[in-house]
């Protein structure tokens, strides 16, 4: 029964990873750039949730959407004034710009919140589910992640704007010729990506402890998820995220937590070296 419990726990964690990776994946699809500051957007979302809870005792489940809206706004600003300027430029420009942003945001968080670990003591304890002992916070986090991922997926499939995002991902120049305002698409996509990262951050704050450099760890996981699940494939990435969650938890269970941190990088490197186009094929 122990093993099953580990697997379920990993699956629940994977849901949160999926949420984080989805935004990064969307941004890459639409703009062909890697947002190295994505982990820091998550970190800020986490700290906003923490701050609302610590200062005004706002329920974390209520603070989560508040932080997400704020991060959506921050995402719009970052895209409008900074990231938009390196779209279509050599890869190095966007890598360096977003890394600079990541360093900047980490610096701000270090100054404001110090390097101490913080956590939100909410939904502690565990529940008994079909004979398994499941952490309550993980269960709730997974439910929220599933809900938000589902809503995002529906938005991309059904809504007009969602279709515009997908069209731009597939062929930006054609989308533009067809009358899609690709600049607006990029703006909203970055905002959405930031919002999703923020929600993931809020959930992480409920499950683990948070610290200014937490983003570094998560962006590595997100890369692994994206190459595992296939670029631009929302469902594939979700499956990849669950898989990574399980693999990490198993590695931690069987070997140790240090090795578990390496799982995502090992997956990333192995997949790219063996299948340069990604496990499920990357259109390029």
């Amino acid at each position: 029964m122990d093993l099953l419990q580990v697997v379920v726990s990993g699956l629940l964690l994977g849901g949160v990873y999926a949420l984080f990776a989805a935004g990064l994946n969307m941004i890459f699809g639409v703009m062909r750039l890697i947002n190295l500051a994505h982990g820091e957007l998550m970190m800020i979302g986490a700290y906003l949730t923490f701050a609302l809870y610590a200062a005004w005792n706002v329920n974390p489940l209520l603070a989560t959407p508040i932080a997400a809206v704020l991060l959506f706004g921050l995402g719009l600003l970052l895209q409008q004034f900074l990231v938009e300027r390196v779209v279509g430029q050599p890869l190095l420009s966007s890598l360096l710009l977003t890394f600079g942003l990541s360093t900047l945001l980490q610096g701000i968080a270090l100054n404001r919140f110090t390097a101490n670990f913080r956590s939100i003591p909410y939904l502690s304890g565990s529940v008994d589910l079909f004979g398994l002992n499941i952490s309550r916070s993980r269960l709730v986090a997974f439910a929220i992640a599933l809900l938000v991922s589902g809503a995002t997926y529906a938005f991309l499939r059904v809504s007009r704007f969602g279709k515009a995002i997908r069209a731009t991902s597939q062929q930006a120049d054609v989308a533009q010729v067809c009358g899609i305002n690709v600049q607006q698409v990029r703006l909203i996509t970055f905002g959405l990506g930031a919002g999703l990262a923020s929600i993931a951050g809020s959930l992480v704050a409920m499950i683990f402890s948070i610290y200014p450099e937490m983003g570094t760890m998560f962006i590595g996981k997100a890369f692994a998820i994206i190459v595992l699940g296939g670029l631009g494939s929302f469902v594939g990435a979700f499956a990849g995220a669950l898989g990574l969650g399980v693999a990490e938890t198993l590695a931690a269970y069987w070997i140790d937590t240090q090795i578990a941190q390496g799982v995502s990088y090992a997956v990333l490197v192995t997949v790219l070296v063996l299948r340069p186009s990604g496990l499920f094929g990357i259109r390029e």
Binding site: F28, R32, L33, I34, L36, G39, L82, R85, V86, Q89, P90, L91, L92, S93, L95, L96, L97, F99, G100, L101, S102, T103, L104, L105, Q106, G107, I108, L110, N111, E213, G215, T216, I219, G220, F223, A224, V227, D256, Q258, I259, Q261, G262, S264, Y265, A266, L268, V269, L272, V273, P276, E284
Partner: protein
């Protein structure tokens, strides 16, 4: 991305570091190339404008003078200034060698942190277990990273653009985790303590080792930048498909550039490990080492020979001012600086100086 440890390399004293390239900037170059792109048929007899030849001379003279200056520096300056100059030299080594693969071929490598860390551990452990003389340990550290680059370069250099970048990022993290986990050899997260070098003469060997490494990488950059090998690397950056269709074995060229490039962070890591006397995986495998190399190159001008050198000196000086102003704001300002350079100076200082006509437009810079 980890930004910890951002301070200790760029933190400087108030002693201004020497400007190794200063002489070149001030060298009067009367026959500047015309800025007008068209309709200026020149005499078609000379393949190289006259100042190009003089540029080679200028390089030789300036490099010789600066090197001699740096050799006698320790006899005139205090320990702190020497240590400071050592970090400037380290930055030049990292940036110039990064430039060899990424500036020339356009393949953005985040692997320098990994090579630096592996070199540091190789050198430190060889010294710790007293396997070989320290100088040989440093050479072996460089050969180790070169060998690793050859092994990982073959599969990874087939990956285009973003995939190569994130693979190198992932490999660096993987290397850190392996070093941390392999406690029987590396002492894991506790790190490795090396014997403290009390004697100044002993301590100065690190400075001179770094100086030799720097001169080597600068000479190598010049050799590559002015050779047909270097041109072929440029052609990969401009259009790899066309380069291949024109008969250039791009895989072999990328691999060669990657191997050359990886030697220097390996040796530099070993020297720096011996210099600081203590290493641990978090500090020596931090992504910031790659970023510093990249930011320095961009600030100076990537794909140029002088750029990384100018960038190293300027960035170090600016960092010192910032650190003196407010250590807590250091990381924020470093991040903000990178953003500003990308947005407003994509060609780097070299391009800026060329626009201002203080430097000639030449591939040989």
């Amino acid at each position: 991305m980890s930004g910890s440890n951002a301070g200790d390399v760029f933190r400087l004293s108030s002693t201004p570091a020497p400007m190794p390239q200063g002489g070149v900037i001030e060298t009067p170059l009367p026959e500047r190339e015309s800025d007008a792109p068209f309709g200026t048929p020149q005499q078609a007899s000379k393949p190289l404008p006259a100042w190009e030849h003089r540029l080679g001379w200028a390089y030789t003279v300036v490099l010789a003078v600066v090197t001699i200056g740096l050799i006698i520096l320790p006899s005139r300056a205090n320990d702190y200034s020497v240590s400071l100059t050592l970090t400037v030299l380290l930055t030049i080594c990292m940036a110039s060698s990064w430039n060899l693969i990424s500036g020339f071929t356009g393949y953005v490598s985040f692997g320098h942190a990994g090579f630096f860390g592996i070199g540091a551990y190789t050198g430190a452990l060889l010294i710790y277990y007293d396997v070989v003389h320290w100088a040989l340990a440093m050479l072996l550290a460089g050969l180790m990273t070169t060998a690793i680059a050859l092994v990982i370069g073959y599969p990874t250099l087939r990956l285009r653009g973003p995939y190569f970048a994130i693979t190198m990022l992932g490999l660096t993290e993987l290397a850190r985790i392996i070093v941390t986990s392999w406690e029987s050899l590396t002492f894991g997260g506790r790190g490795v303590y090396l014997p403290i070098l009390y004697e100044r003469s002993e301590w100065l060997t690190n400075y001179y080792a770094m100086l030799i490494l720097t001169v080597t990488v600068v000479l190598l950059s010049y050799a590559v930048g002015t050779s047909r090998f270097g041109l072929r690397l440029f052609s990969i950056r401009d259009d790899e498909g066309a380069a291949q269709a024109m008969g250039i074995d791009t895989t072999r060229h990328k691999l060669a550039a990657f191997a050359l490039s990886s030697f220097f962070p390996g040796v530099a890591g070993a020297i720096y490990a011996r210099h600081t006397g203590y290493i641990d995986p978090l500090a020596f495998f931090a992504v910031i080492w790659s970023i510093r190399a990249i930011a320095t190159s961009i600030l100076g001008g990537q794909g140029t020979i002088l750029g990384p050198i100018i960038g190293a000196v300027v960035l170090t000086l600016v960092s010192e001012q910032v650190w003196a102003l407010d250590p807590n704001a250091y990381q924020m300002i470093f991040g903000g600086l990178i953003v500003l350079v990308v947005l407003f100076m994509p060609g780097g200082l070299i391009a800026l100086l060329q626009r201002l006509a203080w430097l000639p437009r030449s591939r040989r810079l």
